[in-house]
């Protein structure tokens, strides 16, 4: 559809073109956000490396390929680990595990949290009260303590860590989305939709959800970094990935026994986690400025 009027009448852009133009504006603003660009680029490099791991890694991450604890060299650019596996290959393949766990944990938290937050904010009443009291209880278990409880219940494994970290994120999403829903609910178009008899689920899906998506995206980007740290932390404690699965946290845990003689075993996986989380934080901060209207100057 294109409503271009002839004569002196104003030119009305189609919704598609208007959306394209908004997208271009957004991209134009990204160009001046150096932090977002650096963060996004670094993250893209790491993600591409993990996707194309079989093409980049010279060795099988689970196979013993040389002597134990070799220092970095042209043959093994990050050296070898305590049993003689190539550290670079393990770091790249480990990224698959750590990124997958981090992203999926946030997806779990975001999907459940957004749904509950929208229902609590839109429906209100006793449903809101019940949801928020449960969230208050979950918030009484700070940081990875809730994840620790869940892993203690389900038993140590990387999938249980993913679920545990995901559940840990639900309260943050519920609170944020509920707040956003409460303000969107009072908008005239929502009141109008109600007045013409639209069902609650339709209003939530058509009007509330599109308006809280940007908030969820910003929170989600920042949460992926925290999720990666939490999951790696639990693996570091021996509660997540089990040997011989390559995972950044468990690689650091293995390395701590050889810190004096072979510090490279700790430095490479540790620095990789730091870079990934740093880039996610840069990207998240940039997205917050771009997408969250309250943060715009």
């Amino acid at each position: 559809m294109q409503d271009v009027h002839t004569g002196n009448a104003p030119v009305i852009l189609s919704p598609l073109r208007a959306r394209r133009s908004a997208g271009r504006k957004l991209l134009g603003r990204v160009r001046y956000q150096y932090g977002t660009l650096v963060g996004g680029s670094l993250l893209l490099i790491v993600v591409l490396m993990t996707i194309f791991a079989p093409l980049i890694a010279a060795y099988d991450p689970r196979e013993i390929v040389n002597d134990r604890r070799l220092s970095p060299s042209s043959e093994h650019i990050m050296g070898t680990d305590e049993v003689g596996r190539d550290t670079f290959s393990r770091v790249i393949y480990g990224g698959r595990v750590s990124l997958r766990v981090g992203i999926l944990a946030v997806v779990i938290g975001a999907v459940v949290g957004t749904l509950l937050g929208m229902v609590a904010g839109f429906v209100g009443g006793w449903i809101d009260a019940v949801i928020m009291r449960v969230i208050d209880v979950l918030l009484a278990f700070p940081g990875i303590l809730l994840a620790l409880v869940i892993v203690a219940i389900l038993g140590p494994s990387i999938n249980n860590v993913m679920n545990a970290v995901g559940i840990e994120f639900i309260p943050a999403f519920v609170r944020t989305v509920r707040g956003a829903t409460l303000s969107v609910k009072e908008e005239e178009y929502v009141v109008a939709a109600r007045a013409v008899g639209a069902r609650s689920w339709r209003i939530i899906g058509r009007h509330i959800l599109p308006n809280v998506v940007s908030t969820v995206v910003v929170l989600g980007t920042l949460a992926v970094g925290i999720a990666i740290l939490a999951a790696a932390g639990l693996s570091f404690l021996g509660l997540g990935a089990q040997p011989p699965t390559p995972e950044w946290g468990s690689m650091l845990s293995d390395a701590r026994n050889y810190l004096r003689e072979s510090p490279h075993m700790a430095i490479f996986p540790g620095a990789t986690i730091m870079i990934v989380v740093l880039s996610l934080n840069l990207l998240g901060d940039g997205l917050r400025e771009l997408l969250d209207p309250r943060m715009r100057p």
Partner: protein, 306 residues
């Protein structure tokens, strides 16, 4: 003020009940027979039955919960499967070390975080601001288990200035406290900076400048007083992050604290012990946040009337 504190305590009652329900439910949420999991495959049928009776798992669920609640109120959190010692007495054994570490970390994080935040806010868009905010970003992004290992490598193994493992005195506390405080200090620096910048835009600051007051006087006598109020809440919230961080830091530095004890209990699947630790940790966290709320009411009287 008394009414305000009472209101806050009453608001906590459902949360406290929820904490006890969730902690109690832990045993029942374990997939499979919790007693068989705790005792392992080698346990005899008699042993399983004895532990089942000891834990009261043969009673109806609601009776089990009220027993758990009643015993907990009397300070009885059950008996450890592993050590056969009362859970609470073991927790008392490990708690002081964790509290010592966390107190050191809170003090360090507050001093460093607030100072860096003030420094950055007073030099907005200057080199100091960019450098300190860059450091803040690194502080937030660095995992405690990695910074622990790097600091051990530099200050213990290479320079031999500080001990790796725990011991008596201040020296063994320095590295763990620094590692634990770093992310909290980074968050506090960020919050302090943005709170100060927001405050600096307000009318009363313009008036103070218009009266001819010196920039330092405006900052110390007016801006800081108001800007640091929200920072207190963040210190309370950071306490939770520090509790979680203590689990990792205590494990790396082999400190005999509650965090390390929690990990060994989880690995041993000692459910009564885990229940006890989780309950105590959640109660401490809720208590600290209540304290912060009350403190907030004292510092900013407007809060009491909201």
């Amino acid at each position: 003020m008394g009414l305000y504190i009472l209101k806050r305590i009453v608001q906590l009652v459902p949360v406290l009940i929820g904490i006890t329900i969730l902690t109690f439910a832990m045993t029942h949420l374990v997939p499979g027979d919790p007693v068989a999991i705790m005792l392992g495959t080698q346990a005899s049928g008699d042993d399983v039955e004895r532990i089942r009776q000891q834990l009261g798992l043969d009673k109806p669920l609601h009776i089990q919960y009220f027993d758990f609640l009643w015993n907990a109120l009397q300070g009885d959190l059950g008996t450890s499967i592993r050590s056969r010692q009362p859970v609470l007495s073991e927790i008392w054994l490990y708690l002081p070390s964790t509290l010592k570490l966390m107190t050191a970390a809170v003090v360090l994080a507050t001093l460093v975080g607030v100072s860096v935040g003030i420094m950055a806010a007073t030099a907005t868009h200057k080199v100091v601001d960019f450098l300190s905010m860059g450091l803040v970003l690194v502080g937030i992004s660095t995992p405690t288990f990695f910074s622990s290992l790097v600091l051990i490598l530099i200050f213990s193994l290479r320079l031999d200035w500080l001990p790796v493992a725990s011991g008596s005195g201040i020296k063994p506390l320095i590295l763990p406290a620094v590692v634990l405080a770093a992310p909290a200090a980074a968050v506090l620096a960020r919050i302090t900076r943005s709170a100060l910048l927001e405050e600096l835009r307000k009318d009363y600051v313009r008036t103070a400048y218009a009266k001819g007051l010196h920039a330092r006087t405006v900052m110390t006598a007016h801006v800081l007083k108001n800007a640091l109020i929200p920072v207190i809440t963040i210190i309370g919230l950071q306490f939770g992050g520090l509790m979680a961080g203590a689990v990792i830091v205590e494990s790396v530095f082999a400190r005999p604290g509650l965090g390390r004890f929690a990990v060994t209990s989880i690995n041993a699947r000692d459910l009564p012990q885990i229940q006890g630790i989780v309950l105590v940790a959640a109660l401490i966290y809720v208590g600290v946040n209540l304290l912060v709320d009350v403190l907030y009411g004292f510092i900013d009287p407007r809060i009491k009337y909201r």
